[in-house]
C-alpha cells in the first residue's frame, strides 16, 4: 500500500453539513409517515429510513467510505453475524405454529392398522 493510499482523507465541511441536513430531513419524514396509515408498510418504511440514516452516518461521519479494505471487511462481517443471530432466532420463533402441538399417542388410532 503506498503512502498516497494511506493518507487520511479530509472530508469537506460542506459534506458533513449536507449529511447532517439529510439526517434531520429523514427524521422528519420517518416521524411524519408514522401518522399515515400504510398498514404493514409502516414498519417497512420506518426500518428502511433507519437503514438509510445508518448508512449515511457510517459512510461519511465514520469515514468508512474512505477507510481501509480490512476495516470494511470487519464491519461487513459484524453485520453478517448480526444477520445470522436475528435470522436463526426468528426462524425458530416465527415457525413454531407451523407444526401441530404434540398430543397423546391415541390421536393416531384412526389411521393405524386394525391390529393395534
Amino acid at each position: 500500500m503506498s503512502s498516497q493510499e494511506q493518507h487520511e482523507h479530509v472530508v469537506p465541511v460542506g459534506t458533513y453539513v449536507g449529511i447532517f441536513l439529510a439526517l434531520i430531513a429523514l427524521t422528519g419524514i420517518t416521524t411524519g409517515v408514522a401518522y399515515i396509515d400504510l398498514g404493514a408498510a409502516n414498519t417497512v418504511v420506518a426500518l428502511a429510513i433507519a437503514v438509510v440514516k445508518m448508512l449515511l452516518v457510517v459512510l461519511f461521519f465514520m469515514h468508512v467510505k474512505y477507510s481501509a479494505g480490512l476495516t470494511r471487511l470487519v464491519i461487513v462481517a459484524g453485520f453478517f453475524w448480526l444477520a445470522i443471530m436475528v435470522a436463526m432466532t426468528l426462524s425458530d420463533e416465527l415457525t413454531r405454529h407451523w407444526t401441530p402441538e404434540s398430543g397423546p399417542w391415541s390421536v393416531l388410532l384412526p389411521i393405524l392398522p386394525k391390529t393395534f
Binding site: 408514522a34 400504510l38 409502516n42
Partner: protein, 231 residues
C-alpha cells in the same frame, strides 16, 4: 522502510512499532471497529429479543408505543444528530490543524448536546412515565381500557426502559470520554498529524447515535401513530 533519521524525528504520538503514521492510524481505526462490532452484537441481541416479543404480543406493543411521546423522541433524535455533526467537526478541526480553542469548542458543544439528550430523556420522559405509573417493577398500573392485551403492556415497557437506559449509559460514558479529550486537547496533545483518540472516540459517539437511530422508530413509531393503539 523507516530509516534511523526518520525514526529519531518521529512526531508526537507516533508509536515505535508502526512504520508510518498512516499505518498506526489504520490499525487504531480497525481496533475500534472490532470493539464496535462487539457492541453491534450486544445491542443486536436486545433488538432480536424485542422483535420476537413484538411478534408474540403485537397489540400490547402498539398500546405501549402509543403511550410514548413522539415529539420528545424526535427532538432527541435531532439533538443526537447535531452532536454527531459537532463531533465530526471537532475531528475535522484537528485534521486541518485548527486552533485548540476551536477543537475544544466543538467538543464542549458535543458534550452539551449529549447532556441535553439525557436531560430530555430523564425529565420529560422517564419522570413522566413514573408519574403515569408506567414503570414495571416500581409502580406499573394496567389500565382497563387496554383490554385483554393489557397484561403484556409491561413487557413493552421493560424493553423500553432497558434499551433506553443502556443507550443512555453509553451516552454517559461518551460524555466522560469527551471530558478526557477536552483536557488532552487543552494540554496540546493533538496535532494535524496525531489525533487518533479524537478519531476513535468519534467512531464510538457516532455508533451510539446509530443505536438511537434504530431505537427511535422501533419504540416510538413502528405500528404507526394513527389511531389510539387500542383496538
Amino acid at each position: 522502510m523507516a530509516d534511523m533519521a526518520a525514526h529519531s524525528a518521529h512526531p508526537p504520538g507516533f508509536a515505535h512499532q508502526f512504520e508510518e503514521m498512516a499505518q498506526q492510524r489504520a490499525a487504531g481505526n480497525l481496533g475500534m471497529w472490532v470493539f464496535l462490532v462487539t457492541e453491534i452484537m450486544f445491542f443486536g441481541g436486545l433488538f432480536a429479543t424485542y422483535t420476537v416479543y413484538r411478534s408474540l404480543h403485537p397489540q400490547a406493543f402498539e398500546i405501549g408505543s402509543h403511550l410514548l411521546e413522539v415529539q420528545f423522541g424526535a427532538t432527541n433524535t435531532a439533538v443526537l444528530i447535531c452532536s454527531s455533526l459537532t463531533m465530526a467537526l471537532a475531528i475535522h478541526s484537528a485534521q486541518t490543524g485548527k486552533s485548540k480553542s476551536t477543537i475544544i469548542g466543538y467538543l464542549i458543544a458535543t458534550m452539551i448536546l449529549g447532556a441535553a439528550f439525557i436531560g430530555i430523556k430523564l425529565y420529560f420522559e422517564w419522570y413522566h412515565d413514573y408519574v403515569e405509573h408506567l414503570v414495571p417493577g416500581i409502580n406499573f398500573a394496567i389500565r382497563p381500557e387496554w383490554g385483554h392485551a393489557g397484561s403484556q403492556v409491561p413487557m413493552f415497557f421493560c424493553f423500553y426502559f432497558f434499551m433506553t437506559a443502556l443507550h443512555a449509559l453509553h451516552m454517559v460514558i461518551g460524555i466522560g470520554i469527551l471530558t478526557v479529550l477536552t483536557i488532552m486537547t487543552a494540554r496540546g496533545r493533538f496535532s494535524s498529524e496525531y489525533y487518533a483518540p479524537l478519531e476513535v472516540s468519534g467512531l464510538y459517539w457516532h455508533f451510539v447515535d446509530i443505536v438511537w437511530i434504530f431505537l427511535f422508530p422501533l419504540l416510538y413509531l413502528i405500528g404507526g401513530r394513527y389511531g389510539t393503539g387500542v383496538h
